[in-house]
């Protein structure tokens, strides 16, 4: 089937993938009726997923060059092009986005009763924005997608969120906005120094003066670090995650926070290799702090969803640690862990949403004994718990192992410190599981007169199943994913490491005194 699609769409397959959700959103404007809207939304996300499949099958894994490239003049006088393409770093995020979008529509089937049409339009435009960010090869285009994505997310939290939604939405908005503006300044500077072009690939192959690199690195870092989110700019995340509706949390955890790390890979490292090297130490330290600190905060959480949100801080610490280890294992592990985290935490948020629909509480202490009440649910949840802990056989293990391997290879101390995260992770996750599922049901909760909690429905099993397939597939055969990355990652590492040789220590030392 993907051959047929590929042959028909030919050169514009990537554009179709990105803009089909937009078409869907426009189409939704015309129709009425909740059921119809849900089905159309599902249809469009499914169709987007299906046409994104040939990207995987027709991808040439042997080259680091951009593939499925489309390039048209857009605003020639400003040097702005419609320029898109994907390589081994971005391709997996395309699929992750299209898969999670389908699941987001499915999980909102019953949960969203209010402003259904607007909700699904937000989801679809969100999907288009995220896909756009991963494919854009022109800075103007990239920035449009980057900012366009914020609006539906802001609305998802602010309109369909929990009790404290307005606070969380504005916090999310402000944090991201400030980072984005600094990045915009960086882009403008690049535009002028790079010879008035916004072509990301062209700008990535130039050598900028070290001092400029450092300033630009910091400007971009502001945007990306907030998105990841890295310690200490992470505090928007727990609020946003906790208040967002399930679909919002899934997108947020699954894709949105990956954009920061993706930004490091696509922009910071190839464009400012010397500065990247220069700032490696601080970034690694922040990563290790995020791993341990994020895990410790989890121990203190009383709220189910907030705990998982904080665990993201810890997991993303692993990701940035791997990326900034600058060796094949670290970077590939980092990218894989981004996908893994999307799958595992995405699934965890889906499951939390599912149980919340029944219990209407997120307070951990209200739960207890749920393994008896909802055995299938409990069984699936334990799988995710152990995937999150990084048990061999699940995808979490492969990512964490490669990252710790890479870190240990690069800097022994950070690898060792990061590995303590696996002890802490086991601690807070198993404690959470015990409090939710084991022992006796909470008597206070029982008497408050809720309905008996029912186990998973067929729709819920169907929407969860794909993620569980990925958990084990990647756990047992990660090469399916790793193979896509090799060429692009090697190319990236070479770019960074060659610079190190050219940009000798002396030069760095000179600039060091000049900057500070």
């Amino acid at each position: 089937m993907e051959n047929i699609i590929y042959n028909h769409l030919d050169y514009s397959i990537l554009s179709w993938t990105v803009f089909l959700p937009v078409l869907g959103a426009l189409f939704l404007l015309l129709v009425q009726g909740r059921a119809v809207i849900r089905w159309i939304s599902l249809l469009f996300t499914l169709a987007t997923f299906v046409i994104s499949l040939p990207l995987l099958t027709h991808f040439d894994k042997g080259t680091h060059a951009m593939q499925f490239v489309e390039r048209h003049d857009w605003i020639p006088s400003w040097g702005i092009n419609y320029f898109i393409g994907i390589d081994g770093i971005s391709i997996l995020f395309i699929t992750l986005t299209t898969v999670l979008s389908v699941l987001c529509v499915l999980v909102s089937w019953m949960a969203i009763e209010n402003k259904v049409k607007e909700f699904h339009i937000a989801i679809l435009t969100m999907e288009a924005g995220m896909l756009g960010v991963f494919v854009a090869l022109d800075f103007f285009l990239f920035y449009i997608f980057w900012e366009a994505m914020l609006i539906p997310m802001f609305l998802l939290i602010g309109v369909w969120g929990g009790q404290n939604r307005v606070y969380a939405a504005i916090k999310f908005f402000l944090y991201t906005l400030i980072g984005s503006l600094l990045m915009l300044v960086g882009i403008v500077v690049l535009y002028y120094t790079g010879g008035r072009t916004l072509d990301i690939l062209a700008l990535s192959s130039l050598d900028y003066p070290f001092k400029l690199q450092c300033w630009l690195f910091l400007a971009f870092f502001a945007a990306f670090a907030v998105k990841v989110p890295m310690f200490p700019v992470h505090t928007w995340l727990p609020d946003a995650h906790t208040e967002a509706p399930t679909a919002g949390s899934v997108i947020l955890a699954g894709v949105l926070i990956k954009m920061g790390a993706y930004g490091f890979l696509r922009f910071s490292m190839p464009m400012f290799p010397a500065a990247t090297k220069f700032f490696t130490g601080p970034v690694l330290i922040l990563s290790v702090i995020a791993i341990i600190y994020g895990a410790l905060v989890c121990f203190a959480q009383k709220d189910f969803k907030r705990l998982i949100a904080y665990s993201s801080v810890s997991h993303m610490g692993f990701v940035t640690l791997g990326l900034f280890a600058f060796n094949t294992q670290g970077v590939e592990g980092g990218i894989l862990q981004m996908v893994n985290h999307g799958i595992i935490t995405g699934a965890l948020f889906l499951m939390i949403g599912i149980i919340y629909e029944r219990t209407h509480t997120r307070v951990i202490a209200d739960y207890g004994g749920f393994a008896k009440l909802v055995p299938w649910y409990a069984g699936l949840f334990i799988v995710l718990t152990f995937a999150s802990i990084g048990l061999p056989g699940t995808n979490g293990f492969i990512g964490e192992f490669l990252i710790i391997f890479g870190a240990l290879k690069a800097r022994m101390l950070y690898g060792v410190l990061a590995a303590t995260g696996i002890i802490l992770g086991a601690g807070y996750m198993l404690w959470l599981y015990q409090r939710i599922f084991f022992q006796d049901a909470n008597p206070d909760y029982e008497v408050s007169g809720h309905h008996p909690v029912s186990d998973l429905t067929a729709r819920e099993v169907v929407l969860l199943l794909p993620l569980f397939v990925f958990v084990f597939w990647i756990g047992f055969y990660p090469n399916t994913l790793l193979d896509y990355m090799h060429a692009s990652v090697e190319h990236l590492i070479q770019r960074v490491n060659v610079t190190e040789m050219a940009g000798s220590g002396k030069m760095i030392a000179n600039y060091l005194t000049e900057i500070f």
Partner: protein, 639 residues
């Protein structure tokens, strides 16, 4: 090749079928899938064993598991003499315990779940022993830990069970932390994780050092010690022994299979497997030996005063595992594996026997409420006696040969060896005492439970007693493959069989010395028996008097040297308290405060925005555009 892959895959299939279909379809027929699966593995293991006996070792790579840059590792299996012995132990005892469980777990609500987990365990354990590289070993290692977690917490509605499962997993993670780092360090040193390549390159790595936080450390020593961390966790040695006694919350067949016969011996197996590395590091070897020797006597002293029948046996297991590490540490690897193999039979028998007792008493585990069961449960009593004779080292039975081999090899290992031999022999005295104490408290004297219970006392059904009798045969005869040459020439067949993998132990002594060591162990075994008989049969009031007069010592032992309390005070509580008070407060006030600039800014901003809620999007665009314009303007101006 398929034949070997099927050995672990059969139990795995049983797991999948039972976990997916058990709840709604299979229910209490789960054993019809699980027992044939594990028996099938046993048959295939026997055939693999015979092939190894004919001199064919098997080393196959099934597929490439992870490939990232220069790091590659496969899923592959190595079946040599060592793994063949382990395969036999795991599948034979596994089969017997599966059958026993049919009776023991009969009528339990989670019957299918029990067999599913047990099957998953056998699969994991087989992967662990069959792996041909360190990462697959690590896979099996963590997977058996997972099964242990599930099975300890099998009765999860009990808080104690849920706590114990969690504790086991987390304590093991401490060990695995080191183990994992060791595995990575092995790859960074040898460029491979495959056993044969790593062990082949071990000589070349000798003497290499690595800079660790400013100190130059011998690389091989570091690797061995890191690996040993894992073994300390999994095999419940000091200081990570605390999880095993609590693990007795699990159903008794689990205690027998996982927490006595197989999983807890994984650490012993792993160190033996890595003998080419350990041999090159004297520091690591001494660490192993001392840890083992100290644990052996430490755990034995605790076992002296415990009243829960399963806890006595659990501490006995910790102690016996200590013996195995003692053997490994003095270079007598085959003696360690020999003891692993005999211990599997007599300790599984002790656990299953105690299970039979608990079953008859409807879940009473406190020996103070037992007594006089001899006449009600003759088969259980008989096998208990056999297992006790075996563990205490009465000549002719399995435990005698393996324990004697360990003590003899320890005696030969220099001055440190002599000291450890003394510790080991003293531990053997204690072993004899607590083992017979258990027998006398449980089976002799008058029944101390309720009349209701006494009325229902009965011998267990055949499905329970037949596996007991078969294990009893093992507890007697398993040792006959390792008769010391001083008694019978070429009697040490298991040592010779394992020699291609584990080598020959060094050190030679005179026959007189060997008889002296043997005589000493027989003497302490009889002495312990005599004292126990004296205290619990002849003068039953003596133990209480003794306990009262030695109150502090008695309390220290009864409370397991307060190690749990120590960890709770110094590790668990501080982490939770730090998370609760310091970190959370820091996150909420300090970071939010600093990053937000003025606290309450957001609140103010949101109030402002709420007033103009309809214009939010255009505001957003306006702010963006204005901000961007300003910054660009400033930048162009300054340029």
């Amino acid at each position: 090749m398929l034949k070997y892959i099927l050995i672990p895959l059969l139990p795995f299939a049983s797991f999948l079928i039972n976990i997916l279909l058990g709840r709604n379809f299979i229910k209490d027929r789960a054993h019809w899938i699980a027992v044939p699966a594990v028996f099938g593995s046993f048959v295939l293991a026997v055939s693999a064993f015979l092939e190894v006996m004919n001199g064919n070792t098997i080393n196959i790579n099934v597929y490439s598991w992870i490939a990232s840059g220069d790091f590659t590792v496969s899923v592959g299996f190595l079946i040599d003499q060592l793994s063949a012995v382990m395969l036999m132990v795991v599948t034979s005892i596994g089969t017997l315990i599966f059958i026993y469980s049919i009776g023991y777990m009969h009528g339990d609500g989670g019957y299918y779940r029990f067999f599913a987990y047990l099957s998953l365990f056998v699969f994991s354990m087989l992967i662990l022993v069959m792996a041909n590289n360190f990462l697959l070993l690590y896979f099996g290692w963590e997977a058996v830990g997972l099964c242990s977690y599930f099975l300890i917490g099998y009765w999860f509605h009990k808080k104690s069970a849920a706590d114990a499962g969690k504790k086991a997993f987390i304590v093991n993670r401490f060990g695995d932390f080191g183990f994992g780092l060791g595995v990575i360090l092995i790859f960074l040193t040898f460029g491979s994780l495959e056993y044969l390549q790593v062990f082949g390159g071990a000589g070349a790595a000798m003497g290499q050092t690595i800079s660790l936080f400013g100190y130059e450390v011998d690389l091989l020593t570091l690797i061995c010690l890191l690996l040993f961390c894992g073994a300390v966790g999994k095999s419940a040695q000091i200081p990570l022994h605390v999880w095993l006694p609590d693990a007795m919350e699990g159903p008794t067949p689990v205690s027998a299979l996982i927490h006595a016969a197989t999983m807890v011996t994984a650490g012993v197996f792993m160190v033996a497997r890595c003998n080419p590395l350990f041999n090159l590091s004297e520091v690591a070897m001494n660490t192993v030996a001392v840890t083992g020797g100290v644990t052996a006597i430490f755990a034995a002293t605790i076992a002296l005063v415990q009243n829960d029948i399963k806890r006595v046996i659990a501490y006995s297991t910790v102690s016996q595992l200590g013996y195995m590490f003692l053997a490994l540490g003095v270079g007598a690897y085959s003696a360690g594996i020999f003891h692993l193999y005999t211990h599997a039979y007599f300790k599984a028998l002790l656990f299953l026997g105690s299970g039979s007792v608990i079953h008859a008493l409807h879940d009473v585990q406190d020996m103070r409420n037992m007594g006089g069961l001899k006449k009600h449960m003759p088969v259980t009593y008989a096998v208990f006696i056999i297992a006790t004779l075996s563990i205490t080292g009465i000549p002719g039975l399995a435990g005698f040969f393996s324990k004697d081999e360990i003590l003899w090899r320890t005696y030969l290992a220099g001055d440190l060896g002599k000291l450890l031999w003394f510790l080991g022999t003293t531990a053997a005295l204690l072993t004899a005492f607590y083992s017979w104490r258990l027998i006398y408290m449980t089976f002799h004297g008058k029944f101390r439970g309720t009349h209701e219970q006494e009325h229902h006392l009965h011998e267990s059904p055949k499905v329970i007693t037949v596996p007991l009798m078969l294990l009893a045969v093992g507890a007697v005869a398993a040792g006959w493959v390792g008769i010391p040459p001083v008694i019978m020439e070429h009697g040490d067949r298991i040592g010779e069989f394992l020699a291609p993998v584990l080598g020959h132990p060094e050190g030679h002594g005179t026959h007189a010395e060997e008889y002296m060591v043997m005589g000493a162990s027989i003497f302490v075994a009889l002495l312990g028996w005599f004292v126990a008989h004296r205290m619990y049969v002849k003068t039953p009031e003596l133990p209480r008097k003794l306990g009262a007069s030695l109150q502090p010592v008695y309390n220290l032992l009864l409370n397991k040297y307060y190690v749990d309390e120590l960890y709770s005070k110094t590790l668990v509580q501080p982490v939770l308290r730090a998370a609760d008070r310091i970190i959370l407060g820091f996150d909420t006030y300090v970071i939010e405060g600093i990053v937000n600039g003025v606290p309450g800014l957001i609140g103010a901003f949101s109030r402002k925005l709420r007033e103009v809620q309809t214009g939010m999007l255009s505001n957003y665009a306006l702010v963006m555009a204005l901000g961007a314009l300003c910054i660009v303007g400033i930048w162009i101006f300054l340029r």
